[in-house]
């Protein structure tokens, strides 16, 4: 993690920083911020609590941006291979900024609001993403960063129970929709989405009201605070990519098995095909396939297999590499995301991970590794 930290620059603090310290969090540098990696309960307990009840995450380090103007959706489509134009009011969608060679510059969430397109990007990519949007979208829409907004995530099967006490209306949202809600007197923009595989919400709130809101949520009997450690193991079990690890500028959406994020209308033959960076490369991979693919791996043995572990076939030939991995606290087995040569990407394929000179067997498995809990109405 030290690689993320420039020792000459003081770490940024989210508006909830003092609250994390008060709650006894262990703080670590992450993407330039001093963030809670865990609270006294520990990663395992926090992970399991989120899967069974509700966990509160501070994700205020992520970048929030509003794209304002009638042409914003069509403009954004020049940077992402995603159908934004047809995105209905208060609907949300996963998207990717692509590069000219088809690589991924960042992944993001886009929601259409009454005041514009609400975009959430990764903390580590925020500055470059804003510069990227300003460079390419200025003139067509206003790129308005929202640095005075905090972002909280409330995740888990009982998140709806807890948040409904502050405003019953949030129970009416379904997965990947949102709306403006007054939460016990605090104005917010809420989406029913997240990064854990569970039902839950992400809540954009003015920084100056964020501690008050966090305290109201923590006062609910279902809710406990959850750190970045469990956030990582939860998203990994959910099969969700972490930018900079499972996807980056060297991976295309096809290689990354994210073709589901590219709607037909943006693919070759679609009404608004192409027109985004790297379209030629990505369309060719759609047609011809890619030489490697991102897959899920599960081990029947206990040894965790982590990022960087080489993957070999039965003959010992290198056929891939692990990009994220740990012992899945809910699955109870080592789980990983990895890139393998396409002939080894079929479900059920047996291969081996090399860990400290030893080989441990792993099986290509479907993701998520734990069933999703999304509420689809």
């Amino acid at each position: 993690m030290s690689a993320d930290q420039n020792l000459n620059t003081p770490l940024h603090k989210t508006p909830l920083h003092a609250l994390h310290l008060e709650l006894g969090a262990k703080m670590v540098p992450f993407a330039g911020y001093d963030m809670p990696v865990q609270y006294p309960a520990g990663v395992m307990a926090e992970h399991k609590h989120t899967r069974s009840k509700a966990g509160l995450f501070d994700v205020s380090h992520m970048g929030q941006v509003l794209l304002v103007g009638d042409d914003a959706a069509a403009a954004l489509e020049t940077l992402v291979p995603v159908d934004i134009v047809d995105l209905g009011l208060f609907k949300q969608r996963y998207a990717l900024f692509t590069a000219d060679d088809g690589g991924i510059l960042d992944d993001l969430m886009v929601a259409r609001r009454t005041d514009g397109l609400f975009v959430v990007v990764n903390a580590g990519c925020r500055d470059q993403d804003i510069a990227h949007m300003r460079k390419h979208l200025s003139g067509r829409c206003e790129v308005r960063p929202l640095p005075d907004q905090a972002l909280l995530a409330l995740q888990g099967p009982q998140a709806v129970t807890a948040l409904s006490r502050l405003n019953p209306g949030v129970a009416g949202l379904v997965f990947m929709t949102g709306g403006f809600f007054d939460l016990d007197g605090i104005p917010t923009f809420v989406t029913r989405s997240g990064y854990t595989g569970e039902d839950g919400y992400e809540i954009s709130v003015a920084a100056e009201r964020s501690v008050e809101l966090a305290r109201k949520l923590l006062a609910q009997p279902e809710v406990m605070p959850i750190g970045l450690g469990a956030r990582d193991s939860l998203r990994l079990e959910a099969g969700l990519c972490l930018y900079g690890h499972d996807i980056d500028t060297t991976t295309t959406p096809v290689e990354a098995s994210l073709t589901w994020a590219i709607q037909k209308v943006r693919r070759a033959g679609g009404a608004r095909a192409g027109g985004y960076p790297g379209a030629a490369v990505i369309d060719r991979q759609f047609a011809e396939g890619a030489a490697r693919k991102r897959v899920g791996l599960v081990s029947s043995e206990r040894m965790p297999v982590r990022e960087g572990a080489r993957l070999v076939n039965a003959d010992g030939q290198e056929i891939g590499v692990v990009t994220s991995g740990t012992l899945g606290p809910t699955v109870g087995k080592p789980v990983a995301l990895a890139y393998v040569q396409t002939p080894y990407a079929a479900l059920g394929t047996e291969l081996f991970a090399e860990v400290r000179g030893k080989r441990t067997p792993m099986t290509v498995s479907s993701t998520p590794f734990t069933p999703n809990g999304y509420f689809r109405g």
Binding site: V37, Q38, G42, V43, M44, A45, H47, G229, A230, D232, S233, R302, M303, P304, R306, T326, L327, P329, R356
Partner: protein, 123 residues
């Protein structure tokens, strides 16, 4: 013989030339929930400061060093079966392995409780 400590946050408890080795309360706290341990083979010899095992939590893996030179005479199978012992009882039932000392003088180079507590306080 009193317990000694290494700067790598291991403890060493020596009786009759056999050193029992584990990780400290501070070490298990820093690691978090231990989910896996890789223990050395009985009969294998290590020089002091060589990697003899691995301890892994959900979020990280850390090497366990041989704090003193010698031959592994026993490993903790109970810990292998239930790695959480390294969290719940790190100084007793959560021990890792036992080493038959080949150079007992190496113990003099390790820290006593006072020195180790000072190290943790300042870390």
């Amino acid at each position: 013989m009193s317990i000694k400590y290494t700067p790598d946050h291991e403890w060493v408890d020596t009786t009759d030339g056999i050193a029992t080795v584990g990780i400290t309360v501070h070490a298990q706290d820093a690691l978090g929930d231990v989910v896996f341990v890789d223990l050395p083979e009985v009969g294998k010899s290590f020089a002091a400061k060589e990697v003899a095992g691995v301890v892994e939590s959900v979020k990280a893996a850390a090497d366990v060093y041989a704090p003193v030179s010698g031959e592994i005479v026993e490993v903790n199978e109970a810990l292998r079966a239930d790695p959480s012992l390294a969290n719940t009882d790190p100084l007793k039932t959560g021990w890792f392995f036992k080493v038959k000392l080949s150079n007992p003088a190496e113990l003099d180079g390790l820290m006593d409780t006072t020195a180790y507590d000072e190290l943790v306080k300042n870390s």
